[in-house]
């Protein structure tokens, strides 16, 4: 029983937070108000807001210009941080947020569980191979996230510009020139240089196939596709993250609560080498950040994601390395990139209303009345 309970308990306690920039629609109109949501938690649910003083950089790129976003444009509601802005000229826009490093101490068990849960397989394997599983950790972490969205119809080149973050995804194609079924090649830069052999997860949330329900009060969760069953709300109430302060990363539990659970050999009984070692089901009460395609960058820091379905896609990676130092033992840099992929946006699809991209509805009505009028006169003449 202990073998089961300890890992599950640790899993619940040490669920960490990945940061994403999300929009309700990644296709916006020019010169209109818009909102980007900064999620810190899972892709489906933000667990806490981010303070402005934690943001080292917030940039908006469009039409060759990089604009620093003003602090006053941020607001919070519930556990989500909102960036309110106004779109300008048509183009492919990029927004990036880079956060300042923070550190967190974890005992060995908490750290190993966290590595497993976040799919940081390389570090876990290294600890195994080097008999380091018993070592506690003091990790310095920072998060650097980007989103690419399309304003109007005109495609511009900002999507390939580097923001200069410590770790950063750079697509090699404009995602808005791709459709479902295509492949997105991208490179991963670490401190400006290609990062080879780094594990990257690519996943998506269907834009039309899914909405979020839950079993908690007022919440439901339906996913029409297995791949999309990345819903963590079901037992959300079981998560015991301490988010009384936004500054607290969920690893905080490692220090405060993790030490009450001594690391045991049994706690690491999961096979982390397995591709789906982290597919915890909802009964476990935990959530995983490691579903979707597992990709590994090549020697040039490049990898390719298959865009298999319509939806909001995200690439994510956590680069974690050992640090030689007195206090800090590890340093991690987290990165995500979000964008939307659709099957098409022409007049032959139903994705966007004709009023937005094609024939306005009133034209239809006028045409219909005209047609009825022709028929009417036809029948009237026949009498």
């Amino acid at each position: 029983m202990k073998k089961i309970v300890l890992p599950l308990l640790a899993l619940v306690l040490f669920s960490s937070h990945i940061m994403y920039l999300k929009l309700d629609s990644y296709f916006l109109k020019p010169n209109k108000s818009a909102t980007i949501q900064l999620f810190n938690g899972t892709f489906d649910k933000s667990e806490n807001v981010i303070d402005r003083d934690r943001m080292l950089d917030v940039s908006l790129l469009n039409n060759g210009q990089r604009i620093k976003v003003d602090e006053s444009q941020w607001s919070e509601k519930d556990s989500i941080t909102f960036l309110n802005f106004r779109t300008g000229e048509p183009g492919t826009y990029v927004v990036g947020v880079s956060t300042a490093p923070r550190s967190i101490e974890m005992d060995a068990e908490a750290f190993n569980t966290y590595l497993e849960h976040e799919g940081i397989q390389d570090m876990l394997a290294w600890r195994r191979d080097n008999d380091a599983l018993e070592g506690d950790a003091n990790e310095r972490y920072s998060k650097h996230v980007k989103t690419i969205f399309q304003v109007g119809d005109k495609r511009t080149d900002d999507w390939q510009k580097e923001l200069g973050y410590p770790i950063e995804f750079i697509p090699l194609d404009n995602p808005y020139e791709l459709n479902t079924g295509d492949e997105l090649k991208f490179k991963l830069l670490f401190k400006g240089k290609p990062l080879a052999n780094q594990l990257v997860y690519a996943n998506y949330k269907g834009s039309s196939e899914e909405h979020s329900h839950g079993t908690a009060e007022n919440e439901h969760s339906h996913a029409s596709k297995p791949e999309e069953a990345h819903s963590h709300e079901k037992n959300a109430e079981k998560h015991s993250h301490d988010h009384s302060k936004e500054e607290k990363h969920s690893h905080d539990h490692g220090k405060e609560e993790g030490q009450s659970h001594k690391a045991t050999e049994e706690a690491y009984s999961h096979d982390t080498n397995s591709a789906d070692a982290h597919s915890h089901d909802s009964e476990a009460g935990g959530h995983t950040h490691t579903s979707g395609q597992q990709l590994r960058t090549d020697s040039q820091g490049m990898a390719t994601a298959k865009l298999t379905a319509d939806g909001i896609w995200y690439l994510q990676t956590i680069h974690l390395q050992n640090i030689e130092g007195e206090e800090i033992t590890h340093e991690s840099n987290w990165s995500t990139l979000t964008f939307e992929i659709t099957h098409a946006h022409g007049t032959d699809t139903h994705t966007h209303a004709p009023a937005e991209e094609g024939i306005p509805a009133y034209v239809y009505w006028v045409g219909s009345l005209f047609l009825i009028a022709i028929l009417f006169f036809w029948f009237n003449r026949k009498k």
């Binding site: 309700d24 818009a34 909405h211 937005e356």
Partner: protein
């Protein structure tokens, strides 16, 4: 030389295909409204969808044409409303949905059905009496509601106040329906006593057939070539 009557609808069908293709759909503008406007925005988008979602209205036009008297209209519209409310609320709550193109194709057929029935197509061409209209209106109400539900589910509704949002959308649909029906009922009832009503009746119901075929073809085209 006079064009033949048989060729006219076909010619018009092709002529007006672009208009028929202007089907209603999910708009990112609506999504923005839903994101920022609370429950009222769901009422608004529901009403807007009904008013601009002409396949629903075309079906109702067909139903109203067939009826005489205000009581009858209220009875049939009530049955249609009950039908679409059942599937709109039920299917959305349970997360049941169909391919948008396919369900819209079936709705298009309901428009075609009504025009065909109103023109006496069952008796004239199929040689049997048309099915009970009240029952058919209820069945088509269920189908239209399922279409509305599929549409609602294509929005990112979120998780909070989920049921309230569905109800609000449904309320909006009813309000939109009432708003659209008032001028339709008015025009039809005012025209009924005119000499030209017969031509108007035939023209509109033939149009329903053309629109039904056009919408059906459009949706099937979308189903096969729209990336599904």
């Amino acid at each position: 030389m006079k064009p033949s009557f048989k060729k006219l609808p076909v010619t018009l069908l092709f002529l007006f295909t672009p208009f028929l293709l202007a089907a209603h759909g999910v708009s990112s503008a609506d999504q923005e409204i839903l994101n920022n406007g609370g429950l009222l925005s769901y009422i608004y988008v529901g009403a807007k969808h009904m008013v601009t979602g002409y396949d629903h209205l075309l079906f109702l036009v067909g139903v109203i044409f067939y009826l005489s008297g205000f009581k009858d209209i209220v009875r049939f519209i009530t049955v249609f409303t009950i039908g679409h409310s059942i599937t709109l609320i039920g299917a959305t709550y349970l997360g049941i949905k169909a391919d948008e193109h396919l369900i819209d194709a079936v709705i298009a057929l309901s428009v075609l059905y009504k025009g065909f029935e109103n023109l006496g197509g069952f008796e004239k061409y199929l040689k049997f009496k048309s099915p009970n209209l009240l029952l058919m209106v209820f069945i088509f109400g269920l189908i239209h509601g399922f279409g509305l539900s599929t549409r609602l589910q294509s929005f990112d509704v979120g998780s909070s106040q989920f049921l309230a949002k569905i109800f609000s959308f449904n309320v909006g649909v009813e309000l939109g329906q009432i708003c659209a029906l008032i001028p339709i009922v008015f025009i039809i009832s005012q025209w009924k006593n005119k000499k030209s009503f017969d031509s108007f009746y035939k023209a509109t119901n033939l149009y329903l057939i053309i629109a039904g075929i056009g919408l059906f073809l459009y949706q099937m085209y979308g189903y096969y070539y729209g990336g599904h």
